[in-house]
Structure formats: structure tokens, C-alpha cells
């Protein structure tokens, strides 16, 4: 076949693919769904993984009993992890640091960024509580030396100390540091580090599965029309647009 012939054939082929999507009726699609084999055991594992990773320790314990599913981590370690997380969330950073070190001193030793963020959070809490002198002292003695090692840390430190310069901190340019979301951010960073140190994934698998569903449906949309699921709160099949 000549090169010209090949090019023509490919053009025609592309055209056909662009215009004609496969149409899959609801009845046909339901048949395909029925052919899928899903093990109850696997679903239980998925739910257990979510409870454990998100730190629902009591629910995980009950779920183990009610469903007979073994957790993929020692449940006792969840309690410790959640205590650290809650300490940061409620502003007791010193307490949190102590608890992390009790759990495993390597976590902070091997993770300077996390340690810096915890110290930064501690500084934020001091400023929030109006302990100006204590805050300055802490910034100079504990945080400044770290800033010298790392340009990013230094910038963060300067941003945080700037909180002291404003009368009305809630409306100043760096006011977001005092927001609850900053605590949550730090807390979830510690949470992830502890999970990693326990050789556990830091995120549950279920959200990834939902992302996969949206992703693969978008991909399949290019080639076919079929009943989709877009509303997770009902998981109902929607009739394909024709």
C-alpha cells in the first residue's frame, strides 16, 4: 500500500471514531454490572481501611467485631495517633510534640519540615494567647537557628513573626495563620507522618476509588454513551443522554 493510501485510511478511521460513539442501553449496561464479581470481604476491608486511616478507633473496633474484618494496623496505635492529632487541633503543640516523641522519636528526627511546622504552630499559639515576650524568645532561640539552615523555613518564620506587628491580627495580611485551618493543616501533616512511620498509607483507599470512578467515566464518555453514576449520595444509574 502506498503512503498516500495509508494516510487516507487513517484520516477516514479517525473521522469515524470521532463521530460514532458506541451506545450502550440501560438493560445492556445492567447486565455488565451484574457480571462483575464483588467480594463482601473486600468491601469490608475497604471500609475497615477507611475507619483505621481516618482514626475512627472505636468504630473500627466494633466493625471488627460486627463484620469479622481484621484491621491492617494495631488498633492501639490509632488511639495514640488521634491524641497527637487532637492536641494540635486544640492548640496544645508542646503536648503533641512530646506525644509524637513517645510514640517514635525518629518521626521528628527524620522529618525537619514537620518539626519546623510544629514549632511554627507553637509560636502561632503563643501569639494567639498574647504572650508576646515568650513568643519572641521562642522565635529567637528555637526557630531562628532552623531558618538559617533553610531559606523556606526563614520565610515562614518571618511571616509568622509578622503577626506581632499588627494591632488587628485577624485582618492583617498574615491573619490566616491564626485561622483554625492552619491548625488542621499542621495536624494532618503530623497524622500523615505517624501513619508513614507505621508503614501504613497516609490516605484511605476509598476516596481514590471514587476518583477512579469519575476519571474512568470521563474517559469512557469519549467513546461511548452509557448509564453513568454522578451522584455518590444515591449511587443511582442515570439514563444515557440520547
Amino acid at each position: 500500500m502506498s503512503l498516500f493510501g495509508i494516510v487516507i485510511r487513517q484520516l477516514v478511521g479517525n473521522q469515524a471514531m470521532a463521530t460514532s460513539k458506541k451506545v450502550i442501553t440501560r438493560a445492556d449496561w445492567e447486565k455488565k454490572l451484574n457480571d462483575v464479581k464483588v467480594k463482601k470481604e473486600d468491601m469490608n476491608k475497604l471500609v475497615m481501611n477507611f475507619l483505621v486511616t481516618e482514626g475512627f478507633v472505636e468504630a473500627a473496633e466494633k466493625f471488627r467485631f460486627e463484620s469479622g474484618t481484621e484491621p491492617d494496623i494495631d488498633l492501639a496505635t490509632i488511639t495514640d495517633r488521634m491524641e497527637v492529632k487532637k492536641a494540635v487541633q486544640s492548640g496544645n503543640v508542646e503536648d503533641a510534640i512530646e506525644k509524637v516523641n513517645d510514640l517514635n522519636p525518629e518521626i521528628l528526627d527524620t522529618n525537619p519540615q514537620l518539626f519546623f511546622h510544629l514549632q511554627q504552630q507553637r509560636l502561632i499559639e503563643l501569639i494567639r494567647n498574647g504572650k508576646v515576650e515568650e513568643a519572641l524568645e521562642f522565635a529567637q532561640e528555637e526557630l531562628a537557628p532552623r531558618g538559617e539552615e533553610n531559606q523556606g523555613f526563614l520565610e515562614e518564620l518571618e511571616r509568622t513573626v509578622a503577626l506581632l506587628a499588627f494591632e488587628d491580627v485577624t485582618n492583617c495580611p498574615v491573619g490566616e495563620l491564626l485561622d483554625i485551618s492552619q491548625r488542621l493543616k499542621t495536624a494532618s501533616e503530623v497524622n500523615a507522618a505517624i501513619l508513614t512511620s507505621q508503614s501504613h498509607e497516609k490516605d484511605p483507599k476509598l476516596p481514590s476509588l471514587l476518583k477512579m470512578l469519575i476519571w474512568v467515566q470521563n474517559q469512557l464518555d469519549e467513546k461511548a454513551t452509557y448509564p453513568r453514576i454522578t451522584d455518590f449520595s444515591t449511587a443511582a444509574l442515570e439514563d444515557p443522554a440520547t
Binding site: 462483575v36 464483588v38 476491608k45 460486627e66 483507599k205 481514590s208 471514587l210 477512579m212
Partner: protein, 469 residues
């Protein structure tokens, strides 16, 4: 509907019972063994054939000699015309229902000109031409390092290779590319526009050239596992960037606990969830929305019955159902009654009461004669009597916790269907989570089948066992 066969007349409740009976049949090892040859499994790709040797039937005349091991190739010693290429394909096409296919060759002798090539060709390929010189083929050439794919010369250029080198050819089905390696390092890739099956192909082109082929019978020089992991991560990053509604996962977990009547877990999940920062939007303060009332239907009752079955107390399960939901056990010949009687029989054997089990079985099983699939399942149950240690036999699954769980799930679905507000039978049988998993799986399979059967299927078990961060 004008059809009046007894099948279509059966009430929806019976379709639920039969649905769980089918799941039981699938779980049965003895039954699935018998069925595996006939029915098509959703995960056929595990059994896809892979090349193991060079093909000796379709050889290229006298211009190549395949060794007795069918894993080595030489160009004949005789003085032959310079345009005659010796090309050999593998004994079957590269499997495609996976992420990556890969094979390697080691150059033993570069011969006179070192014009060795590794690549992929279709079954229609003329075995007297270098792979990559013709349309629908591609090849990585030893003498000049070019990666050709039948579109004129030198699309991409890699390093040349010669005696002592090991080079590999692979197909990345996720990116739809051919890629090539030299001594364990990827040297380049080209777009794979060839449709349909392709064969791993090796070519020799000058006197005394000699190569050996590794279809995976020996360890590869290239770290294929690491490459696969890297490709998976790349795909994962794309998927992770998809956004989902906040707290969607919490809602799905919660509905799962409601669906199966894991009442205690649900209670603690809600308490914990209310104390979480930031608060989880899908957990209602006092749980009384319309949506919630359907999911919470008979939660306490369902939980009670589940616990009875899970503790092996079938007599009390029957009497409780009789009291609360007589319609479920009304028809003595229904699938759900059959499952409960079987479970009772199993529990007697678990308790070592073999004689009682026999008497019970003789008394109860007879009336289910007309239930399809009943025969095989009764045989499975009866087989428990034959073994001294039945838990380690082929029907040992009957004594596992998951069998109890299955019966409990079946009864749970039956109770859900008694809700007058429940209109959809599927949502009695399957939780929201299960419907989502089915949808993901079906979408991946459909996407692959519309893409020439290329790529991996979605398997929940693989995701559960993967430990990527």
C-alpha cells in the same frame, strides 16, 4: 407483560433470595471448578497466553536459523544476498490485557555488520524485511540505534548496540507506546498506532549474527517491576487530581454500615464523626432526613437477626423472623428458607452432631427439589459429612465466617425489601459502595474493550493489596 411463565410471576423477594444463592454458588470451590470451563470470567486476562519461544513454523526461508531451544537465532554462515533479512516472531502475540509487556534479547555475536533488530510486528508481516521498515511494525536497530515504526526513517534515535549488549522491547498499554531498553535503561519510545495483536520479533541481517531471546524465563536485565510501578504512579497522579465532593467517602461508609445493619459501628462512627474537626457534613445531627429514614429502616431488627445468624443460632433466627417478618419465611420452599436450613445443617456439623444433621437434612431438604441450583449446593453441604476434618476439605468454606455472613446478608436484604417505601430491588441487594465498585469495574472493562483489549482491568483486591503511598 403478557408472558405468564411461573418464572416471571415470582415475587421480587424471591429474586433476592436467588441472587444470594447465586453468590453462594460462585463461592463454592467445587462448583466454580466445574463451571470454569463453560462460563466466562470477568478476569480472563490472568489466563492470557504469553510468548514462550520463537516460532519455527513461519520462518523466513533460509535467512535465519532458530536454535534447538527455540530461544536463540543465528544468521546462516553461507554467503547470501545482502538484502535478505532473517526475521523470526514469537510463538504467540504479546498479551495485551495488562499494563506492560516486555521481552529481551542478548547479542552473542554482532556478525559482519551488526544489523540486528528487536521489535514488534503483526501476523501479516513479511518475514524478509526489518521490523520498522514496513507499516504496522516497529523496531530498534543495532547498527544505527534508530527506532523505526514504518513511517520513513529515524523517527527517534537511540544508541546503537552490539555484541555483549542486552536490549529489550516493550509495550506500555497505558500510554499506548512501544518502548526500548539497552542494558537495563529505557532509551526511547514511539507511539503505538498498530491495532490488533502484535508479535515480539527479532531480526538478523548479516553473517554470523547471533542472539538469544528471553521471554521472561530468565530474570530480565531491565527492572520491569520498577518500571511498572512508575507507570502506575503516573496514572495514579492523573487520577488523584480528579476532584470529588467533600466528605463523599464518609457518606458512603455510613450508608454501608446502615445497609448491612452494622448498628453498633454506625453509632460510634456517628459519635466520632461529630467530634471530628472539621465537622463531617454528611453525618446528620439527629439523623432524621427522608433519605436517612429509608437507610435506617429496621436497623435494630436487622442487627438482631444478623447477630443470631453470626452466632449460629438458626432456630432462633427462624422464630424471630416468624414473629417480626412472617412474610419472609412464609413460603417454605423459597431460596431464603433453603439457605437458612442449609445453615442449620452446617451449624449441626460444626457442633459435631452428625446424626442430628442427617436427620435434619432428610427432613428439610426434600421440599426444595424444584429450586434450581439446589442439588449442587445440597451436595456441598452433605459432603461435610464425609470428612473427618471438614474445615480443611474442599467444602470447608461452608464452615467459614463468610458463609454465615452471606446468609446474614441475604436475610438482611429480605428485611430491607419489606420496607413499603423501598421501590428498587437492587438497592436491597447491593449497598451504595457495591454499586460504585461495580460501576468502576464495568467502566474499566468497557474502556479496554473499546480500545482493542489493551490495558489493565480494575480489580478491587489489587487496590486493597497495593501499598503505594
Amino acid at each position: 407483560m403478557s408472558e405468564t411463565s411461573s418464572q416471571s410471576q415470582s415475587p421480587p423477594e424471591d429474586s433476592i433470595g436467588r441472587y444470594f444463592l447465586d453468590i453462594w454458588s460462585q463461592n463454592s470451590k467445587t462448583l466454580s471448578l466445574r463451571a470454569s470451563s463453560g462460563t466466562e470470567s470477568a478476569f480472563e486476562e490472568e489466563r492470557e497466553e504469553s510468548p514462550t519461544a520463537l516460532d519455527t513454523v513461519k520462518s523466513s526461508g533460509g535467512f535465519s536459523v532458530v536454535g534447538a531451544d527455540k530461544l536463540s537465532l543465528t544468521y546462516p554462515n553461507d554467503q547470501l544476498h545482502g538484502h535478505d533479512v532473517g526475521v523470526v516472531q514469537a510463538n504467540c502475540p504479546a498479551p495485551s490485557k495488562r499494563l506492560v509487556y516486555y521481552f529481551e534479547i542478548s547479542v552473542k555475536h554482532a556478525g559482519v555488520k551488526g544489523q540486528i533488530a528487536i521489535g514488534f510486528t503483526t501476523s501479516a508481516f513479511r518475514l524478509r524485511r526489518q521490523p520498522g521498515w514496513e507499516a504496522n511494525s516497529c523496531g530498534y536497530h543495532g547498527d544505527d540505534g534508530r527506532l523505526d515504526r514504518g513511517h520513513g526513517k529515524g523517527d527517534v534515535c537511540g544508541p546503537p548496540y552490539t555484541a555483549g549488549d542486552t536490549v529489550g522491547g516493550g509495550i506500555n498499554y497505558a500510554t499506548e507506546e512501544f518502548f526500548f531498553t539497552k542494558n537495563g535503561v529505557v532509551i526511547g519510545s514511539v507511539y503505538k498506532d498498530v491495532k490488533g495483536p502484535v508479535y515480539p520479533t527479532v531480526a538478523v541481517h548479516s553473517q554470523n549474527e547471533e542472539v538469544s531471546v528471553n521471554f521472561g524465563q530468565d530474570p530480565f536485565v531491565f527492572d520491569l517491576k520498577a518500571y511498572e510501578a512508575e507507570q502506575r504512579t503516573k496514572q495514579q497522579i492523573k487520577i488523584e487530581n480528579t476532584s470529588i465532593p467533600q466528605d463523599a467517602s464518609y457518606g458512603i461508609v455510613r450508608s454501608y454500615l446502615q445497609h448491612y445493619g452494622y448498628e453498633e459501628t454506625l453509632k460510634l462512627f456517628d459519635i466520632d464523626g461529630r467530634n471530628t474537626m472539621p465537622p463531617i457534613s454528611v453525618i446528620p445531627e439527629n439523623g432524621d432526613s427522608e433519605e436517612d429514614s429509608i437507610s435506617m429502616y429496621a436497623l435494630k431488627q436487622r442487627n438482631t437477626v444478623r447477630r443470631l445468624i453470626k452466632s449460629g443460632n438458626i432456630d432462633e433466627t427462624f422464630s424471630t423472623l416468624q414473629k417480626w417478618y412472617p412474610q419472609i419465611v412464609q413460603d417454605h420452599t423459597s431460596a431464603i428458607c433453603f439457605m437458612l436450613h442449609c445453615q442449620k445443617f452446617i451449624e449441626l456439623i460444626r457442633g459435631g452432631k452428625l446424626e442430628e444433621a442427617i436427620v435434619y437434612g432428610r427432613g428439610e431438604f426434600d421440599k426444595f427439589k424444584d429450586l434450581s441450583g439446589f442439588d449442587d449446593l445440597v451436595k456441598d453441604c452433605a459432603a461435610l459429612l464425609a470428612y473427618e476434618d471438614p474445615s480443611r476439605s474442599s467444602v470447608g468454606y461452608l464452615l467459614s465466617e463468610s458463609q454465615r455472613e452471606l446468609v446474614a446478608d441475604a436475610v438482611n436484604a429480605m428485611i430491607l425489601s419489606t420496607n413499603p417505601k423501598m421501590t428498587d430491588v437492587t438497592s436491597c441487594k447491593q449497598s451504595r459502595l457495591e454499586r460504585l465498585i461495580r460501576q468502576v469495574t464495568a467502566c474499566f472493562l468497557e474502556k479496554r474493550s473499546l480500545n482493542g483489549d489493551q490495558g489493565e482491568a480494575f480489580q478491587l483486591s489489587q487496590i486493597l493489596n497495593s501499598a503505594t503511598k
